[in-house]
Each structure stands twice: as C-alpha cells, then as structure tokens.
C-alpha cells in the first residue's frame, strides 16, 4: 500500500485510541489485583497505595481455580479443533460444489444462530440425559457433553466464515492441483487449506473463545468436577462478599496462557496468499 504522508499520523492516533480503549480495563484489573480488598471497595485509585500479592495466593483457595482452568482448557481446545475440522470439510463442500440441499443446509445452519440459547437449554439437557441412558455414555455433567455442545455452537459461524475465506481462494488453484493428479480431497489439503491458514486460525480462535466464555449452558451442564472457568469465576462473588481483587487476579492468571497461545498462533494469521501461493 502506498503510504501517504499523513498515514503514519493517522496510524498513531487510531491505534493509540484503540490501545487506550483496550488497555484501560486491563490496567484497572491489574492494579486492583494487587490491592487489599478494602482498598478496592473504598474508591478508585490508579496506583495501589498498599501493594499486596495476597490475592494471587488466595484465588486458588476461594474456588478450585486450577481444576476449572484445566476443564476449560481441555473442553475449549478439543471443541475448537473438532469444530474447525468439521467446518473445513463442510465449508469446502459449500464453497466448491453446487449440490441439491446446499442452500437448505447453509440456511438451516445459520438459522440455528437466531434461536436464543435460553430456550433450547432445557430440551438439550433432556436429550443429553435420555441419550446418555440409551447409549450408556454419560453426556450430562461430562466434558464430552460440553465438548459436543460447544463444538456445535461454533460450527455455524465457523462454516460460514470458512466459506468466505475459501471463496476468496481462486478455483484455478484447485484445478491446478487436480491437473497434478490430486482428487478433490487432495486439492483441499494441498491447496485450499494451506492458502486459507489465516482464516482457519481465525476460526480456530473463534471456536476456542466460544467455548472458553460460554456461561449459560456451562452453569447447568457441569458439576463440581467438570465446571469451567466461565462459570467458576463467579465463585469469587459469594453471598458474603465480592472478592474484587481476587476476581481480577484470577482473570489475569487464567488469561496469560490464552494470550500466549494467541501470540504463538498469530504468525499464522498474517501469512497465506501473500506468502506467494497465487501467481
């Protein structure tokens, strides 16, 4: 892109605003997490007057944070990977084939996103319990049930987004791969997926975060041993008190690995067609 003379300035201002907007709550979080509870409750100050690391020790005792964290990590990761896998195949079919039922499928998938979750909570719960009784695999209050649920929650948008990315990859590339002797699946793996890596990574992150943050279903479909972070964090708000400093400390602690994961993934976000696949 040609750089106009004002562009660096605009970049500075625009990104500066976004940084401030993003950072302010994070700073409040960080500074509150190293204050004693009384200080947090008694009015805001940017810099802690009394510095303490106690909240970071207390968070593990107030709620079983480590277990919640492990549950969330397992459930979200498996759900995200599975969701992207299923979505890649479905999106490839929609992007590259015209087949009867294609429209019905895409519209139905999309329309599931329009039903308020609150309503199919109870029916889904009943299906899980009954299905569990029939097939003998416990779905209620198990990680498996949660994984299946979350994988499906992110599926519709994953498919739609991937169709968008796949559509922007020239069909000529598929053709070239097929001329080289690949079948359609070969073309998918050799050409389309590599070319769509940024999109796939974006979708992977989306699917992960969908599972990571979901509150409503997790609150009903988990028990003590399978509870996820999204609901578990509410444990810092007890009947007696809201442990603000601990909420903030716990939020920071559990976000560190996720942000680290983003950091690792982000180089895939910015490669792709620009790497020279199209010529």
């Amino acid at each position: 892109m040609r750089e106009a003379r004002w562009l660096p300035w605009a970049r500075w201002i625009g990104l500066g605003f976004l940084t401030l907007f993003t950072l302010t709550p994070l700073f409040v979080m960080a500074s509150s997490s190293v204050k004693p509870l009384r200080d947090v409750q008694n009015g805001f100050g940017w810099i802690p007057t009394t510095f303490t690391l106690r909240p970071f020790a207390d968070i593990w005792r107030t709620v079983p944070l480590a277990r919640y964290f492990a549950n969330s990590l397992v459930v979200s990761t498996v759900a995200a990977v599975a969701s992207v896998t299923v979505a890649v195949f479905a999106a490839y079919a929609i992007s590259r084939y015209r087949f009867p039922g294609r429209r019905v499928f895409s519209v139905t998938v999309l329309s599931t996103q329009m039903f308020p979750g609150i309503l199919f909570l109870l029916p889904l719960f009943m299906i899980f319990v009954n299905l569990g009784n029939v097939i003998g695999v416990e779905l209620y209050a198990s990680r498996l049930g949660l994984i299946i649920t979350y994988l499906t929650f992110s599926l519709p948008f994953s498919i739609w987004m991937l169709v968008g990315y796949f559509d922007s990859i020239p069909v000529a590339l598929d053709e070239a791969a097929k001329v080289d002797g690949n079948g359609p699946i070969g073309a998918l793996f050799r050409v389309v997926i590599p070319a769509a890596v940024p999109g796939i990574v974006a979708v992977l992150i989306y699917a992960f975060m969908t599972a990571w943050g979901e509150v409503l279903f997790a609150s009903v479909m988990t028990d003590e041993s399978t509870r996820t972070l999204a609901v578990g964090l509410r444990g810092y708000a007890t009947e007696n008190d809201v442990y603000w400093n601990q909420v903030m400390a716990a939020s920071l602690v559990v976000s560190v690995p996720v942000v680290a994961g983003f950091l690792l993934l982000q180089r895939y976000l910015v490669q792709g067609l620009t790497a020279g696949a199209v010529k």
């Binding site: 990680r143 049930g145 028990d223 399978t226 007890t238």
Partner: protein, 424 residues
C-alpha cells in the same frame, strides 16, 4: 478422550443412574459460607460423621446461588439430579408445584420427630398451606436492624430506633460527610421484593388475595413501598448510589466500612467478621414495627432461610430420609447454624450457649413472633421477580431525583401485576 470424559462424568454415583451403589447419596448444598470451599470445610466433617453412623456416603456439591435454580429446574425436567438438595425457602411453593419433591406428610415428619419440633414460621415456609411440606427447614434466618454502636454514640444517639420516626431522626443525624444513615441494596431483585413484602405487611398489604390472585398494586402495597423509597427520596438518609447495588453484598460492605450506620439485613455476622468488624462494634435491634393503631400487621421480618428437599426420583429414599433426619438433629443443627451464623430451625437446638448471644436472641424472637413467610403460592417467584424489578426502577428514579408519588409507585406496581401469568 472418550474414556476420560466417561470416567469423570460417571464418577459422581448415587444419582438416578440406577447402577450406582445404593449406599451413596448425592447432595447439592447451597453456598452459605464465605466461599464454596468454606462450605465444604463446614460440611465435610459432618458428612463423614454421618457416614460413620450409617455407612451411607454423601457426595456433596456446593452449588453457587447463580446456578442453583437452573440446576434444579434441569434436574426436575430430566429426572436426573441429586437425591437431596438445598432450596431457598421462598422457592418452596413454586418447586412444590412441579411435584418433583417427596412430600413430607405427617408420617415422614414423624420420623423426623414430628411437626412440633420445628419452628412454626420456618415450617410454614416449606410449601402451600394445607399441603404436606415439600421440604424441611434447616437454616433459619430473618431480617433485623443492624446499627453501628460507635457511630450512634458519636452522633449522641443512645438507643437503637424503635419507631420509624426515630429511625428517620437517627438517620438524619448520622448522615453527614460521606456517611449515611442507612444502606440498602437498591438493585437487588430479591432484597427489594423482601422489603416490599415487609413494608407492605406493615400497611396491611398482601401480595395475593385469599384465592391466590395477585394484587401487587393495592393502596397498602403502594404505601409500604413508598415509605421504603422515601428513606432516600424524601428523608435523604440513604446514599443515592445505593440504587445501583445489585450483587447482594454492597450494602453490607457500606455498613462494614462505616459508610452507613444502619442496615436492614439477614444475619450477616460472617461478612462483618470477614470485613474486620468486631462483635462489640455493632448491635442488632428489630426493624421498627408500625403503630398498632394504624391497621397494619405487626410484621418486621420475612421468614427467610434454607430448606432441605428430597427429589422423588431418588432410588435411595430411605437413605435420603436418614440424611434429612441427621441434618435436622439437634447436634447438627447446632454445629451447622453456628458455623453459618443462622438460626436452628428445631426448638431442641436452642439450649446451646452459642444461640444465647444478644444478636441471635434478637433474631430468634423476630423469627418466632413478628416474621411472616412470603406468600406460599406457586406464583411467588413471579412476585419476587416482577415487584423486585419494578423496585429496581423506582430506586433508580429516586436516585436520579424524580419525585416518588403514590401515583408513580402505583403505576409501576400495576404494570408488574399485569405481567403475572397464571401458573395453571
């Protein structure tokens, strides 16, 4: 992955799964202590004691309040859940209507030592009148007026207020330089509905008529709620900021942090202690009663508390009943209510010196004599939700300086009343 999921999902045993060992129970406890972990620490030794006595193992899960009702609903719908569960006593009639709980008829109550062992008001809050209770009370609570002794002494007030006029006068003296007379939880639906009920009763209001029809907007109810709101809107002894307090702890913290000198609350001793407030710093008095000649009821508290219920899909009803019996035994009532700062719900537990402190005695007298249970009708949860929500808005308007008139209160309550959807 599958195996792991199965292993952890099936590990809780004793539920309605069928194949589980018959001598295991699953128990959902509510969060009564300072944290979920604290609850476990309180309960686990007692459950171990029970196992030692009976050989029945109890797997307890402390369910946070935010999830408890949803979890119970899901269990009711699907027939899969715990054997025994704690419920908020105001849910009793609504949950009773689902038919999901084992009714405690006279025979079952007899096994627990009979109806008369229980505190009357607490037992009255276990389901619709004339029907066998859907649950039995285990933790008793009610409302009282906490006051900060030191702040009272500094303001030259010797005694806690006994009438509303005295309370307002004291509040005005105490309201200065960033401290306020009284703290309220103005955006908490449940606190608001409880106070709407108490203040309404003092003016003779009943949320439901004798046939169970909702009548939220009677002139008596309007007068009651207006009296409550006027503490902020007219008398200015409540910090307008209290209108946004929603999580059920902020008013308590204002009291602990000396931002407010009075608090109308259920037993909050644990919170005070956690906040570093010693027992000689505060006192407890009954919430003022109305002038007996005014025609209102002599009610200054609602019967709050926790009930214990048995799901009727349990395959271990005998074991479950033994567990209920254990939890309502004098010894356990003493241990648990002492730990939680609540009141025993059985009369034979009160001989313990722990329940002879002035605070507990005051609460006990209120609960026994001048507390009334919220209406035990299936639509009660709608009353709490609709009237509580309407009051959130009224507090918000009062805090923003909007005049709170009778017509205004009535219109909000009428709107709430119209949204009631009949249960059957």
């Amino acid at each position: 992955m599958l195996a792991a999921a199965v292993a952890c999902g099936g590990g809780d045993g004793g539920d309605a799964g069928g194949s589980a060992a018959p001598r295991t129970l699953t128990y959902w406890a509510s969060n009564q202590g300072t944290s979920l972990d604290n609850d476990k620490q309180v309960l686990q030794p007692e459950l171990d004691k029970f196992e030692k006595q009976t050989g029945i193992k109890v797997n307890v899960e402390v369910v946070p309040w935010a999830d408890l009702l949803n979890r119970i609903l899901a269990a009711t719908t699907s027939g899969k859940g715990p054997d025994v569960v704690n419920i908020g006593n105001t849910w009793s009639a609504s949950l009773q209507a689902t038919g999901a709980f084992v009714p405690f008829d006279d025979a079952l109550l007899g096994q627990l030592g009979g109806r008369d062992r229980f505190l009357g008001p607490s037992l009255a809050a276990t389901g619709a009148q004339g029907k066998p209770p859907a649950a039995v009370p285990i933790y008793g609570m009610t409302y009282g007026l906490y006051y900060n002794k030191k702040m009272f002494a500094e303001a030259g007030i010797g005694e806690p207020p006994a009438t509303w006029d005295e309370l307002i006068a004291a509040g005005k003296k105490l309201t200065k330089d960033g401290t306020w007379g009284l703290a309220v939880e103005g955006a908490s639906v449940s606190e608001n509905s409880h106070h709407a009920f108490i203040f309404g009763q003092q003016h003779g209001a009943d949320p439901f008529d004798a046939s169970g029809k909702p009548q939220f907007d009677t002139p008596q109810a309007v007068a009651g709620i207006k009296q409550y709101l006027d503490l902020m809107a007219v008398h200015k002894i409540v910090n307008p900021s209290n209108a946004e307090y929603s999580n059920g702890t902020e008013a308590v913290q204002d009291f602990v942090n000396r931002k407010a000198a009075m608090l109308m609350w259920q037993s909050a001793a644990a919170s005070f202690k956690a906040g570093g407030m010693t027992e000689d710093e505060y006192g407890l008095a009954p919430i003022p009663l109305p002038d007996p000649s005014s025609g209102g009821k002599q009610v200054n508290g609602m019967v709050a508390g926790i009930n214990l219920a048995i799901f009727n899909f349990t395959e271990n009803q005998d074991a479950a009943l033994r567990f209920v019996k254990f939890m309502t035994s004098p010894e356990e009532q003493k241990v648990l209510n002492k730990a939680y700062g609540s009141l025993p719900t059985v009369k034979d537990a009160y001989d313990d010196p722990a329940f002879q402190t002035p605070t507990i005695k005051t609460f006990q007298e209120i609960l026994a004599n001048t507390a009334a249970p919220l209406p035990q009708v299936p639509e009660e949860s709608q009353y709490e939700t609709l009237v509580g929500t309407a009051m959130n808005q009224m507090w918000a308007d009062a805090a923003n300086g909007k005049p709170i008139t009778d017509d205004y209160v009535k219109s909000k309550l009428t709107q709430a009343n119209q949204q009631v959807q009949p249960g059957s």
